[in-house]
Every structure is written in structure tokens, then in C-alpha cells.
Amino acid sequence: MNWSSPLPALVLVSAVLAVGTYALAVLDRANGDRVARRRLRPRDAVLQPARAASLLLLTRPTATERPDAQAWALAPALLAAMAAGALATVPLDRGVTVADVDDGIVLFGAAMAIVMVAVYLHGWSANSPLPLLGGYRFIALALSYEMPLALVLIAAALPAQSLSVGAIVESQQGLWNVLRQPLGLPLYLVAGMGLGFWGPLNTSDAPDLAGGTAVEVSGPQRLAWELARRFVVVAVAAMGAAVFLGGWQGPVLPGWAWMALKTLLLLAVVAHLGHRVARVRLERFVVVAWTVLIPLALVDVFVSGALAL
């Protein structure tokens, strides 16, 4: 099947985002209950995301005084679109990539850069102070995520001598990048969690802002936003699995199953960290990002480059 033609592409990307997001919600719930020592009912853990989504669909949206209504509606759509665009560059199996372009890594990075616009738009358009503060926070931190993300992805592309994600997966035959470039995956996950404003890097929608950019949204609008940010996390996990964990490569199981397992593994790590690591302090994170994370990412690039020569 030609996965790059519109209908199959739409179906495939939507299905992966839906399954991945549901898995993330289940993992998040299971981790939360485990940390809180709450009795974990597997049935509840599996059904609760669907129940919560149904409730949001039945709840009426609300409005603030004079919001920028078009931008408010656009923000979750833009965020979801960027996540979908980013996911489209990821090979989901041997020969199954929706956007199998020569510079897929660049396209992925570009989509992730626009996440900043969507989050700020969401904070701005509610015409309310706390969401706006959430938007400011994301803007303040966005470059601290995007720089390490771009650098570690470039480092991963060096052994493949190609910016195509498919070529990067192929280049890991025999040795995955997680071992060849041990700095890559941890830095990538930190940056990815920031772009999905997840767990310790959820500063824009944080409890100290009573929910930040999402303070004022209700019902389906809230559901759309919550889904969209999880789409970003899923896209980041899928790309992480492809670029650092060998993608679809692995014995016995079909390629798509390996890809699913590796993506799930990264989603489980993200869900775990979300309940175990306290939210970062903005200023300190920026300092650490520019004095530690970005230099480490540069070391990753230089060492990978030297080894690739």
C-alpha cells in the first residue's frame, strides 16, 4: 500500500496517535496509582481515559470575556497538526513511512519548533492572565528544548550520513544509537518532555498557575488540548524509538511490533518520570539547559561526527 497517499496516510497517523495517546493515558494512570499506593484496578486503568474523554465531550465549553476565539480554537488544532506532521516522518515499519522525505529529521524538528506557537497561542487567546503567564513560560523555555533536540537528532544522522529517518534506522543495524551515542537519548527525552510540557517540564500548564494555558478551557475544547499535547509526546516517543532504539529492527517479531514496543517503552519512561520528578524551576532550567544540556548535545555531535569520519 502507498502510505503516502492522503487517505491511508491520514488513517495510519490518526491510528498511531490514538493508540499511543491511549497507551500513554493508561500508563500515566497506572504509574500515578502505584506511586500514590492506591489500589490499582486494571479495568479502571484501562477504561478511565475513555470515560474521562466521554465526560469532557458531554460537558459544555465555556468562554471568557472577549477571547480571541479563532486563535483559541486554532491552538489545539495546530498543536495536533504539528504532532501529526512530526509523526509522519517516522518509519513505523520497514518501508512504512507516511512522509518518507530525504530530510525527515529536519521536518520533524521544524514541526516541533512550531509547538511553541501553538502553546503561546493557547495562552494568549483566552484573554486571561494565568493562561498568558503559561504562554510566557513556554516561550521562555522553548529554545532550551529545541536546541538540544535539534543537536542530538543531527548527531544521530551523522552515522547514517543522511537526514532521512529511514536511513538513520538502517544505520543502526548491529548497534543502536542509544549505545553508540549514550548522551543522545537522555537529552532527547528531556527536550521531548519539554515540548510536550509533560511532568517535570510542564511549566506552561502547571498547578501553580491553576492549569496555566488550560485554566479557562472546558469540555471538548479541553479534551482537544489534552489530546494534542499527548500527541506531541507520542510523536516524540516514536521518533525516539526510531532514531535511538533501532526503530523497526529486531528479531522474531514483525517490524511494526518492535516499533510499537520501543515506543511504548519510551512512553512508560515518560509516564514514570511524570510522577517521580518535581517540576523544574524556570530560571534554573534555562541556566542548566544552556550550560549543561546544549554543551553536552554539542559534545554528542562532535564525538559522533569524529566517529563517523
Binding site: N31, G32, D33, R34, V35, A36, R37, R38, R39, L47, Q48, A50, R51, A52, S54, L55, L57, L58, T59, R60, P61, T62, E65, R66, D68, P129, L133, Y136, R137, G199, P200, N202, T203, A206, P207, D208, L209, A210, G211, A214, V215, E216, V217, S218, G219, R222, H275, R276, V277, A278, R279, V280, R281, L282, E283, R284
Partner: protein, 439 residues
């Protein structure tokens, strides 16, 4: 309609999204709500279908409470756990108000189920749906227009210009936060001048519990520190006092963890606090040590809101700053229990967290050692926030006075960390304060 019929049974099984608003004497009970199975506390009223009001309504709380009520999306219902006092105008403002048995999760879930099934009508707005002030903007998004910039034109706060520390002229937005803002202690109102997310100036607003405390003592639910207040006048087992102290500190720590994004860890602490006994010391100690050693929490709280030994005189905040003061040192009842105060030195938000966790563990040790030994009234008593029964103002009064200086120049996140770290109790601060004269 068809889709709604299909979704309703599924939605009925969802965790009930509850926004808690806390009135006089309601904080401990609100903490319990977080532990109810099938209930999920949310940070914003927009994310809730049930507004849970816990405690007594004082007149200044009524209008903000109704404002929050109207922010809930429909279908919505309000449940009130009033303690002992039912009044304050809430019942007349919300005709569909459900006065529930306090702490009853089944009842809360049944109200939610009735709401979804349509057996219970969704509450209409309590306030008129009109703008607080006439809007005089003219642009496509209502912006611009004569006098629509700077200060509070026509009752509407808008940014003005003010210099920042770098000498730049930046927008400064006046913001009034509280008295039911979730990250704040109940009743706290702050008038904040914001530049970006930096608090340039903060002043404490009128205490909504002022003038109400005496009535509440007679008629309302108990204050957060009721056992300690009672121990000033009647013999009380030391074991009970120390377990109550440990419970108080653990609940505070749970709220602090939630603020820092560690809600699940906080729930675990709340679960321990609910049925706390001296025998739980080992479990509390192990958890407290893990939290106190958390590098991520240290990273978030170290160096934030530093108080020196000259700034404070008593309580855990002073001991976190390195001052070895504690009324128990001079209390005959504690002689022979081997008590010596735990002290830290940095005086920042991190040490205040470590201090209270260490004091919770120590309190359980003391409770174990004290057995059924009684403390007789007479000398000052060390309450969970500082000494009680002295000539000095109550601990929260002094702590509240520190806020404007501590918050000036802080980023929003640090400001919230500081407010939480002081463990303020506006009811305690209101003791003896007259009610404000209505405008």
C-alpha cells in the same frame, strides 16, 4: 443526542472531576476529599463538574465563591460540606445546592451520576451574566478606545508602565488573586503587580475570616489547630498533640508536593496522615527521607524565599532558619521525653519542607515515648506553626507580614513556592481581628 446517549453510561464511570473551594475550618476535610476513590481534584473550576465547598461561608467569601461557581461548565452541581454551620447566604444564592454528609464520597458520586443522567438539573448561574464594567474598547477584539490603557479604567485592570530592575519601562499588570485560588491557603488575597511573570509588588488583601472566628468557634467546624488551642485550657495527652502535629505537617507537605507537580506522592502522604498513629513512624520516616533527599525538589526549592534568624521568632519556619526555639523546651510535660528541637540552617523553602518532615517524624517518636502522659495547661504550647498562649501575636500573623517583602521580585513559580512554604492559616491570623466595615 444519539451520541450523548451512547457516551453518558461511559462518562458516568469517570472519576468525578471536583474543584474544591475551602471556607472557614474546611482545610483538613478538603484534604480528605483528595483521597476519596472515584474522585479527582482539579486545579481549575473550568475542569470540574462538581464544585465542592468545604467549611463555613463568611460574608466576604460568598461573592468569590459564586464567581467560581459560574465558571464551572455545565452540567454542574455544588456540594457543600459545611461542618456544623449552615448559613452565610450560600443556600439562598444556590437553590439547587446539595448539603452533603462531610467526607462521603458515595454521596458525591451519586450527585454526579444524577447530574449526568438528567435526574438532577444542572445549576443555573448564580450571578447575572453581565460584564463587571462597561467595555469601551473599539478594535476587532475589543481593544483600544479612549482610556482603555493603564491602571484600572472603568473597573477593569489593564497594564500600565513601570520600570523593571534593568531600567526598562515594561508593562505592569495589576492582578487580584484569591481568596479561593487553589495554590494559596484558603482566604489569602494578594494584590499583585506583575511584569511578565515577575511579581514586582504584592500586598495582602483583607482577611475574609476577620470578625468571623469567634462565631465559628461556637458554631462552626473546628479550626485546623483546634486540638492545640483546646490544650491551652484543658489537659491533653501529649501523644494526641504530637500525632496531630505530625498529621498537620504531612498534610502540608502533601499540598506542597502537589504544587510542585508530585500529586501522586502527595496522595501517598495524605493516605498516611489520614489514619496516623505512632506505630507509623517507620513508614513516615522512610517516605519523609525520600522526599527530603529528592534532588528535583531540592532544585526547585533551594534558595527560594530565604528567611534569616532576624526575620522570624518561632515555629518550624524559624527552626528551618537555624533558630533553636521551641516552646516544648520549657514545657514541663516534655521533660524526660528527650526532646530537643530539630534545626536546619538555610531558611529557604527547601529547609522548611525538610524541617516539617523531620518534625513529623520526631512528633511520632515523642508520641510513642509519651504514651498516655498528659500535658497540663499553663505554659505556652508549641503549635504546628509556632508558639500558642504567649503575649506575642499568633504565628500566622507574623508570617503573613513577611509576604510582601518575600514576594517582591520573585518569578510567579517561586512566589507560589514561598507562599506555600510559610504554611499560613488565615483563620489563625484573623483571631481577634474585627470584621471589615462593608463598603
Amino acid at each position: 443526542m444519539g451520541i450523548a446517549r451512547w457516551l453518558t453510561p461511559l462518562a458516568a464511570g469517570a472519576d468525578v472531576p471536583v474543584f474544591t473551594a475551602i471556607g472557614a475550618g474546611g482545610r483538613a476535610l478538603a484534604d480528605e476529599a483528595a483521597l476519596l476513590p472515584g474522585v479527582r481534584l482539579v486545579d481549575s473550576p473550568r475542569a470540574a463538574n462538581i464544585l465542592l465547598f468545604v467549611g463555613a461561608v463568611t460574608p466576604p467569601l460568598l461573592r468569590p465563591l459564586l464567581g467560581i461557581h459560574d465558571q464551572l461548565p455545565t452540567p454542574r452541581a455544588t456540594v457543600w460540606w459545611p461542618g456544623r454551620a449552615v448559613g452565610g447566604g450560600l443556600a439562598s444564592a444556590l437553590p439547587d445546592l446539595v448539603v452533603g454528609p462531610a467526607g462521603d464520597g458515595d454521596h458525591l458520586r451519586s450527585v454526579f451520576a444524577e447530574l449526568l443522567s438528567g435526574e438532577r438539573r444542572s445549576e443555573p448561574p448564580a450571578l447575572p451574566d453581565q460584564e463587571a464594567a462597561e467595555w469601551r474598547g473599539v478594535g476587532p477584539f475589543g481593544q483600544g478606545g479612549t482610556g482603555m490603557t493603564g491602571g484600572v479604567p472603568y473597573g477593569r485592570p489593564l497594564p500600565s508602565r513601570a520600570p523593571d530592575p534593568d531600567g526598562l519601562e515594561l508593562d505592569q499588570l495589576p492582578l487580584h488573586v484569591g481568596p479561593l485560588f487553589p495554590p494559596f491557603p484558603p482566604g489569602l488575597i494578594l494584590h499583585i503587580e506583575l511584569q511578565g511573570d515577575v511579581v514586582r509588588q504584592a500586598t495582602v488583601g483583607d482577611n475574609p475570616f476577620a470578625g468571623a472566628t469567634e462565631d465559628l468557634d461556637q458554631d462552626g467546624p473546628p479550626l485546623d489547630t483546634a486540638l492545640f488551642v483546646g490544650a491551652l485550657t484543658s489537659p491533653t495527652p501529649i501523644g494526641d498533640l504530637e500525632v496531630a502535629r505530625a498529621r498537620h505537617h504531612l498534610r502540608w507537605a502533601a499540598r506542597t508536593l502537589r504544587l510542585h507537580g508530585l500529586e501522586s506522592e502527595g496522595l501517598r502522604l495524605l493516605g498516611l496522615a489520614r489514619s496516623l498513629a505512632p506505630a507509623d513512624r517507620a513508614a513516615v520516616e522512610s517516605l519523609a527521607q525520600r522526599i527530603a533527599r529528592s534532588r528535583s525538589l531540592a532544585w526547585t526549592t533551594r534558595g527560594v524565599g530565604i528567611l534569616g534568624t532576624d526575620d522570624v521568632t518561632g515555629g518550624p519556619v524559624a527552626r528551618a532558619a537555624g533558630l533553636a526555639v521551641d516552646a516544648r523546651l520549657h514545657d514541663p510535660a516534655y521533660q524526660g521525653l528527650g526532646f530537643s528541637p530539630v534545626v536546619h540552617g538555610a531558611g529557604d523553602a527547601r529547609d522548611r519542607l525538610r524541617q516539617r518532615l523531620a518534625e513529623a517524624v520526631q512528633a511520632l517518636e515523642l508520641a510513642e515515648r509519651a504514651g498516655s502522659q498528659l500535658r497540663r495547661p499553663g505554659p505556652p504550647l508549641e503549635g504546628p506553626r509556632g508558639p500558642l498562649g504567649t503575649e506575642d501575636p499568633l504565628p500566622s500573623v507574623a508570617l503573613l507580614g513577611l509576604l510582601p517583602r518575600l514576594l517582591a521580585g520573585q518569578e510567579w513559580g517561586d512566589a507560589m513556592t514561598i507562599v506555600a512554604s510559610l504554611d499560613l492559616d488565615l483563620e489563625e491570623a484573623a483571631v481577634g481581628q474585627p470584621a471589615p466595615i462593608p463598603a
